[in-house]
Assembly symmetry: C2
Amino acid sequence: MNSAEKGRATINDVAAKAQVSKKTVSRVINNETNVKQETRERVQQAMSDLNYFPSLSARSLASKRSYLVAMLYFDLHAHYLHQLQSGLLDHFSTRGYSLLLHPCEGDNDTILQNLERKARYMNIDGFVLVPPLVHMSSLVSLLKQLDKPYVRIAPKEEHDGFSEVLCNDEQAAYELTQHLIQKGHRQIGFVKGAADCLAASKRYDGYLRALKTHHLPLDPTLVFEGDYDFTSGVAAGQHLLSLVRRPTAIFCSNDNMAAGVLNVAHAKGLSVPNQLALAGYDDSPLAQQIWPALTSVAQPGRKMAEVAANKLIDKIENIENAEYPQNIGCDIKYRASTQSELSLASLVEPA
Amino acid sequence: MNSAEKGRATINDVAAKAQVSKKTVSRVINNETNVKQETRERVQQAMSDLNYFPSLSARSLASKRSYLVAMLYFDLHAHYLHQLQSGLLDHFSTRGYSLLLHPCEGDNDTILQNLERKARYMNIDGFVLVPPLVHMSSLVSLLKQLDKPYVRIAPKEEHDGFSEVLCNDEQAAYELTQHLIQKGHRQIGFVKGAADCLAASKRYDGYLRALKTHHLPLDPTLVFEGDYDFTSGVAAGQHLLSLVRRPTAIFCSNDNMAAGVLNVAHAKGLSVPNQLALAGYDDSPLAQQIWPALTSVAQPGRKMAEVAANKLIDKIENIENAEYPQNIGCDIKYRASTQSELSLASLVEPA
DNA sequence: CTGTTAGCGCTTTCAC
DNA sequence: GTGAAAGCGCTAACAG
């Protein structure tokens, strides 16, 4: 009884059935050239006849590649991270890799130890880092020392143009701020995101640029330091909506914080958008589920994931000269929360 | 130059350094008994001196076990699924397994083919099925045929007491409905979840039981068939809030749908909770981010994940007689959306 | 309690 | 274009 009959065919069974050497079967499996078309077909026939599947562990052991990649993250909850996860999963699997999720938790040393152990144990071929981990330099050093390729999503520094993926937050924030200005708003509040985050500062930059373009002064009292959390949005709302010169519009660096501001507005009996225009960022499901629906910026999470996956695999497989989109555009979703015109908005300008 | 010096120590290097056979090293790696304490320590010392890590692919190939498990899911977005994912990740990794995410998409055949391919290619040791996949019988058959253990989260049928993990939705829905009744509500609307889902029917059962206990008649016009989606919540709101005998309270089978109802209430100018009490299910972040904050049931997602992970690994490792919690309890979060008393609620009863 | 032998199923290297 | 031999790093089965 050969192994095929025992339920699992091996490369030897296929080789025997196709009357070739197992090396030839291996060539077919790996889509190598240098196999005559006729031979290739015979092998493929044998594989399907025997219901053959190669064994990952055997090829990993022999080839010293695992076909495993890991996504390194911290605090996976945001809509954005979820989008990335799902996009990475898609594109890695398309190219024959499996995605491992590696949450980085605990203190610095714990994180590094766990990662090294897992990376070496599983011989992980490459890594995708997502914010805010992207900025953990000891982690990046470890990856370099492990000598495995990695790609970073939206890192703040050290751009080499090949190992990171960026999107155009600045432009989106600019356009959204401009939209508010065009609706007649002059007092536009801004709620910042976490300080160590590239996206946060790019969004703020876009806001500033729009003000400048339209010759509006920056009023520092209208800028609130948030941290992307709902509760910091509540704090922002309490602060901004209690000002004597209350803003007529508030742009939040994410939807969670916008929801916080919105709660305060509701509690104060302020009508949105008539007395307060409100915009968020992320276009999370929340944006459509709160009332009124929130104008928000949809980040190209899945597109970024696609680019990240392909960049990483190209590195792993030493494919050079590939072209990738540089600064992936965002998509603004205009909804009810900003859809009121100057006349209404001006009503609430403090006398 | 031995392999240790080339950057990666192998079991042979450890064996040589510790002056034992590699089988003994293997015993230490696998925490087997039958190793003298002194020997064990010598081996451990050698491992750490050489910065040795075993190789997963080598042990998989030799042992025919991959230490890989997969979570089979469809449509991973709900807060609940995310909780499960994160809990599974935790507990599998604690016990030395890595979790693979396997989204099941496409038509029936595609799903089965992809799963079989991946399962056999990676030699996955076990599977966790989460709703609604739990009810896909062809998938369950495939798993049986693959002869690998699986655990199902909240399946509708075929309970064997060992391969599924349940939580007590019925009781939670009962208690929450009772809470509404005690607030004075007599016209309590109910928005059902997806019909093929065990949890959905258990929640409805709890609602019915509470009505019965309190001798309230079931009014079928107050029961709306939703599908867990936000838009079905909007539809439910439009229907229920247009009734002549409008409900004074609505219990939705999840938070998304409650948010939909809430939007309609806002649009109709109905004040929540004063004119309408509203409750959801899942205790997703949304529940705290909408206004007013939503009373909701927190499912024990992480606890269920823990039980599922341990059940599955025990099956994989043939550990018997372990005890597991049977019907894991839910936790009701009472918030503003139901915090008004009879007197107020009765105000809005149509004349 | 420890060691020996023989693979696991594939790829690598090199030969033809 | 194809094949033979060697070996990846570990565990299984058995022996002692």
